[in-house]
């Protein structure tokens, strides 16, 4: 059993991961969407959702997660998130004459769609931050494979 490349951690970790993943995703989405009413915002929510995927990587190994969200899809999502921020800024420049102008109606406070372009920004930041931190972790996890084999070579 020792020689086989064991992907992911023990059974206990896997079952706990299955339980936690749902809560993390929902809480992350809540933090992002209600960022302008309660504490939170695009950034913490995005990192929370990235941490959910990183937890899957740690528990089940890289291959399982790659099937869900591959490295290339991650970097494309990262670029799209960044593009969304800039395009929103340019729309503000076009409509309001100044970059990043809040061109959407303000709505009534305490409602979900209440603060103009803030909610769209939160979504764009969530996409960008979540995807970029996920692919950085993938890059570091890939490298781990190479260095680990180095240790095993030294043993035998």
């Amino acid at each position: 059993m020792k020689g086989k490349k064991q992907s992911g951690m023990t059974f206990i970790v896997k079952t706990i991961t299955n339980l936690i993943i749902g809560f993390m995703m929902v809480f992350g989405a809540y933090v992002v969407l209600y960022g302008h009413i309660t504490p939170g915002g695009g950034f913490p929510g995005g990192v929370m959702i990235a941490l959910a995927y990183i937890l899957i990587t740690l528990a089940y190994g890289r291959k399982v997660v790659e099937s869900m969200v591959s490295g290339v899809a991650g970097s494309v999502g990262d670029d799209i998130g960044a593009l969304a921020i800039i395009i929103l800024g340019f729309i503000g420049l076009w409509i309001g004459g100044t970059f990043l102008f809040n061109f959407l109606p303000k709505g009534t406070p305490f409602e979900l769609f209440s603060a103009g372009h803030i909610i769209i920004y939160n979504l764009a930041i969530m996409l960008k931050v979540g995807m970029s931190l996920y692919i950085v972790f993938l890059a570091l996890a890939i490298l781990q494979r190479v260095v680990v084999t180095r240790n095993e070579n030294e043993e035998n």
Binding site: P39, F43, L143, V147
Partner: protein, 116 residues
């Protein structure tokens, strides 16, 4: 006032780790400690005695809220500074791994010697 001073001591500890420790990861930890100290300093500046978080609840009326709310501007600055700290940390960890791969050691003086 003593909180500002204790925070400055924390900054000095981070600076000590960064300058005098020779292990690369210790230097990275030193930078992280200094980031914590600076972020804490900015939030300490914005604190208001018996202050309320700057988030309006449904039942709050505006007048008391404006009189007691904590300063939101340093919090905006700290959110950006935490992200910058995370970005720098990711770059430092990547460099530390590649440096270890190249030199086989984490000791900066050893690396300087090997570099010739």
């Amino acid at each position: 006032m003593t909180l500002y001073f204790l925070n400055f001591v924390l900054l000095i500890i981070g600076l000590y780790a960064l300058v005098f420790k020779r292990h690369i990861v210790k230097k990275i930890l030193g930078v992280a400690i200094m980031e914590y100290a600076v972020n804490l300093f900015l939030i300490l500046l914005g604190f208001r005695k018996s202050g309320v978080p700057p988030i309006l609840m449904k039942d709050m009326d505006m007048a008391t809220f404006i009189r007691t709310a904590v300063d939101p501007l340093p919090q905006a600055l700290v959110l950006t500074s935490i992200v910058i700290g995370l970005g720098t940390l990711a770059l430092m960890v990547a460099m530390a791994i590649r440096l270890y791969e190249r030199y086989g050691t984490f000791d900066m003086d050893e690396i300087k010697r090997l570099r010739g």
